[in-house]
Structure formats: C-alpha cells, structure tokens
Amino acid sequence: MDKSKLAVPTTEEKREGELEFQIAELLSDAQYEGHPLKEALSALWERYESLSGQIEKLTSISDGYGSMLRERNARLDERNQRHLRQLQKIVRISDHYQKMLQEMNDTLKVSASQDPLTGLNNRRSIMERLAAEVTLVPRRKAALSLALLDIDHFKTINDSFGHDVGDHVLVNISRVMSEQVRSSDVCARWGGEEFLIMLPDSGDYAHEVCERLRLTIEKSSFVEGSDYKVTASIGVTQYIRGEDILETLKRADSALFAAKHKGRNCVAAF
C-alpha cells in the first residue's frame, strides 16, 4: 500500500479543508455582521462541527472494539494451538505407556506359564491345555494320551556331579523331549525331575514316541567328561472319555511307578 496516501490529503480532502477554512473566514468577518444569512450559516456550522465530532468518536470506539476482538481472537487462537499441542503430546505419551504395559503383560503371561529353567510349559500351564484338550476329544480320531517321564536316579546325578550338572541334564532332556514329539504335542515340567507330555489324537502312537524318547535319552551323553548313562522311566496311558483328567493323571503315575518297579529305563502302559 502507498504510504504517502495516508500522510498527504487527497484533492477531495484538500477541497473540503479549503471550504471549511473559507466558511470559518466568512463567519469571523466583521463586514457580514447582521447579515441575515450569517446567523443561519453559523447555526449550520455549529451543527456540522458537532456531527463530525460525533462521527469521529463513533468511528474510534468502533475501531477500538474491532481491534480488541481481533486481539482476543488471536489470543484464543494461540491458546487453542497450545492446548492442541499439549493434547497431542499427552496422547502420544499415554499410548507409549499403554504399549509398555502391554509388553509387561506379555512378559508376565510367559513367565506365568513357563518353567524358567527348561522353557517348557509349567504345571499350571499344561493343566490349562489339558482342560482345553479334553473338550476336543470327541472330535479327534484317536485317543488323547498322557505320558509321565521321570529321570532315573536323578538325586545321584545331583549328589555326584553337582546341581549345575543336574540342571544341565534337565535342560537337555527337555530339549530331546521337544525334538522327539510332534508339534501338536505339549511337554511340561511337572515338578523336580518329572515331566508330563500331552499327546492329543495319538492312540498307540504315544507308546512308540515314548519308547523312541527313552532310547534317545539312553543313547545320549548328558554328563560332560563322564560316561555316566542318564536314563528315564516313562508311564503312559490314554484318557477314557467322560473321566476326570485327574483320573488319567493318576493312571499315568501308576504306570510310571510300574516302569520304575520293572527296573527303570523302560516304558510302561496302563
């Protein structure tokens, strides 16, 4: 915008100014004293002055409101922007916290269902899996089998080679177990040196797997620097439709006891 326009009066303004000056001159001129037009003109002049004063005042008040509103809008706008930024930050951080919680939850779930030493399912976890599997039995072709495996003379291993070696044996037998079974089978650390294997839809196949597992353990050397032979006894049984799963577990335990009684390092089926 041309700034000079603001400072220098336009021709129209100049003309108006000249007219006002001329009228002021005429009204103050003594030679027109008593002239009939003078009184009328001076009354008109006064009214003109007061009206233009009013217009000026009105304009300035209205301008003031205008600029006040503009300022207030700018302030509100700034405040809104600030609130929006703050809100975005809160949402971002809060989402981040939720993600952290979710991860902690996942970790907790794993540690609640896993045996920390062997990484197998723990007792609680396999009991849940068993309960779920029992409901699926009617839909399976073959029976659900359970096998209980116990490492023979584990106390002797611990006592003669130390607990580190004992742990090493537990970890390695867990590994062998997981390798020998199907991916649909579930291995768990049942307690101490005892393991439970759930074999859904397996029937007679379960006995074969257990025999193979027993043989693999017998052939492996788990104690480094020693020719000590680690062996395991296994009791295997099938779930009978309609019975409580605890009955099946009891039977597997009796089968394991029978395998131990037969001289260990063997599989007994009930």
Binding site: K89, R92, Y97
Partner: protein, 131 residues
C-alpha cells in the same frame, strides 16, 4: 505465605511424594516415586501443583525435582506436564529449576518416555540410569 512440606507414602495406585523446602530459604525439592494411576488424579495432583506454584511464585525460589516414576495413566501424564509448564515459566523468569528422571537399566522404555516429556522443556532435564 508459609508453605508446608508434603509427605505422601506410595500406595498401590499413587506415587510417593516428598516436597520439602530448606529452612530459611526458598530452595525446594520435590521427589516422586512409583506408579501413578489415581482414581481421582485431580484430587491427588492439585496439592502438588499448588505447592510448586506457590514455591515458584517466590522471587528467589529454586526447585530440584527428582523423579522415579514408572507407570503413569493419561491424567497423570497431563498433571506432570502441567507441573513441568510451571517450571518452564519459572525458568523463563531466570529461576533455577531442574529435573532429574531416574530409571532402572532394564527398563529402557521409561527413559524413552522421560525423553518425550523433556521434548519442549528448555530448563535442565536429566535422564539417568539408577546405579
């Protein structure tokens, strides 16, 4: 005005809060520890916010915040940001304010979160591992 210290023990859902001012000065320290997901976070944080606001209203006030916070729910995040805004304002007035946020080495996520809080703060804001 006279300011009373704040001493709140941690609960299941609220952090421990210890707010003290060194005698004969306006040098304050505010320590917060634990998880924060209060049922009514407004009720919980208002006294803390007011304490900080009152302290920083003193012309020669200083404030050192030490945080050992773990989980914060959304309203606690907002409350902490409001408190940090007070520090930012005081820092702008030339007051000595600072935050040190401590986290356990095996919980890197806390450090990332502290980093996000720090983003718009121009006053000293340290993020340290506990060791």
């Amino acid at each position: 005005m006279t300011m009373t210290d704040i001493r709140l023990a941690a609960t299941q859902s609220t952090p421990a809060v210890i707010a003290t001012i060194a005698t004969g000065s306006h040098d304050g320290s505010l320590e917060m520890r634990g998880d924060s997901y209060p049922e009514n976070s407004f009720e919980f944080f208002t006294p803390v916010f007011n304490w900080v606001e009152n302290l920083l209203a003193q012309p020669n006030a200083t404030l050192k915040m030490e945080l050992y916070l773990l989980y914060l729910n959304t309203s606690s995040v907002k409350a902490m940001m409001d408190i940090f805004d007070l520090l930012e304002e005081a820092f702008g007035e030339g007051k000595k304010v600072s935050i040190a946020w401590y986290y356990d080495n095996d919980n890197e996520r806390i450090a990332e979160l502290a980093e996000e809080f720090k983003e718009d703060c121009s006053f000293p804001f340290a993020i340290n591992t506990l060791s």
